[in-house]
Amino acid sequence: MAFAAFGGGAPAKDNSASRKGGPIVLALLLPGMIYLGLFFMTPLLSLLVTALESPDPSGAIGAYFYDVNFGNFLTVVTSYWPQILRSFGYAFAATVFALAISYPLAYFIGVKLRTSPLIQRLLLTLVIAPFFISFLLRTIAWKQLLSDDSAFVSLLHALNILGPTQFFIGSDAAVIFGLTYNFIPFMTLPLFTNLERLDTRLLEAASDLYASPNKVFRKVTLPLSMPGIISGTLLTFIPIAGDYVNASRDFLGSSKTSMIGTMVEADFLQNWNYPSASALSVLLMGLILVMVTFYVRKSGTDDLL
């Protein structure tokens, strides 16, 4: 699985003696297996079963019967394809922005500040500090800070970036901003962990061989930090694609920014259309799995799979 990428480190050597499964090993595994069975496999199975249900012939709202109705998947794709595309578009943009902000930051903290560990730790704490506050509260705070009467929006109006009847909250930019902000630590921390271990002697050697700083970065630093970049992008892209808080009309979004999560919420809570909500969730899961597999393979890190 691609998620092995998050673990980092070299794969353990094959040690046939430690691989023998004795009763103790099984006993140790049991709690984890039961937990996974109850809280992961059962809901997943239930989701799949629900995704295939059909409406009850009585016509009562919210009543469905067990069936094998693959048509639900076709319906959600034809109804919600703009939301599906938008979700991945937002996820892509926010991941790129998060990477562009996090890479120099992680490089600075992890490489340049190695000689002053105190400042290094202080800056790392500052990266994480806002996240001691609840995700929802932070998003609500941004909603207030970026509201129509805020200094930020007044500035955008003064600079003619926004027209007199245009505002920030409810726009694509507001949602991408919120997503980028909320998921930045998930990009910064894996990058930092990777860059902290970057062997600077390799950079010096490249310079000694007359490589320009640009070339040193492209040929040495970047390839060496690939595992960090991959971990970071996966950790941000996956949850962003399924996020529904930032794009919600109650937070930074509007009717024009609905994502897959918005539609799952609408189908599940408002329309009582559980098969549609489940089919959309399964589809999101499938699409992410395909994309992640493709991405990890394409980035030349097959060993991480």
Binding site: L38, T42, P43, L45, S46, L47, V49, T50, E53, D56, S58, G59, A60, I61, G62, A63, Y64, F65, Y66, S79, Y80, P82, Q83, Q144, S147, D148, D149, T165, Q166, F167, I169, G170, R249, D250, S254, S255, K256, T257, S258, T262, M263, A266, D267, F268, L269, Q270, N271, N273, Y274, P275
Partner: protein, 413 residues
């Protein structure tokens, strides 16, 4: 009761069914695994078709307690003192568990739907839900028929308008009784409205579509309120409209959403946008804006009862099929149909419309200004001409209209 059984009603059912069968040890283990798997699947997965449910056995006489789930700001002494509830407890000897647990019909329903659908105890013996949700519960057979012989005060003091005019979803009020009424109409921020339009106040729904208000209009996410007010402005009688009329107004709504005139469609959180300037005018719940003014200690926000009419809906008591305390639930419902008890709640700051006859007189005697507020005690003329209830929908209309509304609100074309 149930001292040796789990608190969770669903789990309790599983334990009960396991205890009731005589089986061998091997079968118990095998059966337990199969039952747990089935119960878990059932718990996690909605659906399974419509069933005919039977009312649970009433143990009210031996188990003197009742649980009531309700919305916030609906009871006197919500700091925990609850004087009217305590008085009832003392008088009747029935212990009351009052939970402020509902802040949205749909999310509350999502919490209890599996128990409701299987006729099990949801943990609440009565709860107050909005008309349309109650209509769905009645339609699906999830709630019990009420026994009026146990509720003399209801028979005596229930305002007749709530039985006929505002009870179309439950003819004769067989399954539900009103708790409080809510008016949806036009609200606006006085200073900001003047600044943008140069006018003092909006006077019609049409005023919301003034181009100078582009991006500053917000409406409620409750379909029946927003579209109801808009349909009335289009001259449609919302007590008996056709599907074509519904979709015609929905198209107008979609047009205002896609042009950006309507900036957002929200539930309870719209009030913050009126406070911070993101919204200047819109379709709102009257009681909320009055409450916000009191909270802010200002008169910044205004409410207009437009000529074309406003929607009126209630939150209603219902008793689920699985409630084991039917008589106790009816006792507490009946208690709040005593004018002096309801007046006590109103005087404590619950500023919604009272469905109990005789409350107005008691409130007027103590606080004349409150007693003459038409948003709390609408006049007979207002009830007759200005306040209308969105008509009850058939199951298939409910499904189609809700989906069309949800799609329009989420920008699905």
């Amino acid at each position: 009761m149930n001292q040796n059984q789990p608190e969770d009603p669903q789990l309790r059912e599983v334990v009960k069914s396991a205890l009731s069968s005589k089986v061998t040890r091997r079968a118990v283990i095998g059966g337990a695994i199969a039952t747990s798997a089935a119960a878990l699947l059932a718990a996690c997965s909605p659906g399974g078709g419509k069933k005919t449910l039977k009312p649970a056995k009433d143990i009210s006489a031996t188990d003197k307690q009742v649980t009531w789930d309700n919305w916030p700001y609906y009871m006197d002494g919500e700091d925990g003192s609850f004087p009217s509830l305590k008085a009832f407890q003392k008088e009747s000897g029935i212990k009351v568990h009052y939970n402020i647990k509902i802040d949205d019909n749909n999310t509350y329903f999502a919490l209890i739907k599996n128990q409701l659908a299987s006729g099990q105890d949801t943990g609440a013996d009565t709860m107050c839900l909005t008309d349309w949700m109650v209509a769905r519960l009645i339609d699906n057979g999830y709630v019990r028929e009420l026994d009026y012989s146990l509720m003399p005060n209801v028979t005596k003091y229930l305002n007749s308008a709530y039985k006929d005019q505002f009870g179309s979803f439950d003819p004769g009020r067989k399954y539900s009784l009103p708790w409080k009424g809510i008016i949806a109409t036009i609200g606006y921020h006085k200073a900001n409205y003047k600044k943008l339009t140069g006018k003092d106040a909006p006077t019609s729904v049409e005023d919301l579509w003034d181009p100078r208000l582009k991006g500053k209009v917000e409406v409620l996410s409750e379909m029946r309120d927003t579209l109801g007010v808009m349909m009335m402005a289009d001259g449609i009688d919302i007590t008996k409209f056709t599907s074509d009329e519904f979709y015609a107004t929905l198209d107008k709504f979609k047009k205002h959403v896609s042009s950006g005139q309507i900036r957002s469609i929200k539930g309870n959180s719209y009030i913050d946008d009126f406070k911070n300037g993101d919204a200047v005018a819109g379709i709102i719940w009257a009681g909320d804006l009055i409450g916000a003014n009191i909270e802010l200690g200002s008169e910044d926000l205004g409410v207009v009862l437009v000529e074309t009419g406003s929607t009126f809906a209630c939150d209603n008591f219902v008793i689920p099929m699985g409630s084991p305390h039917f008589a106790n639930a009816e006792a507490i419902i009946d208690n709040y149909f005593r004018p002096e008890v309801s007046a006590q709640v109103a005087l404590a700051g619950v500023y919604y419309v009272e469905p109990v006859d005789g409350v107005k007189e008691i409130v007027t005697a103590k606080e004349p200004a409150l007693g003459s507020n038409p948003l709390m005690f609408p006049t007979a003329e207002m009830f007759a001409t200005k306040l209308k209830q969105f008509r009850a929908l058939t199951a298939s209309e409910d499904k189609d209209f809700s989906k069309a509304w949800s799609d329009a609100s989420n920008g699905v074309v």
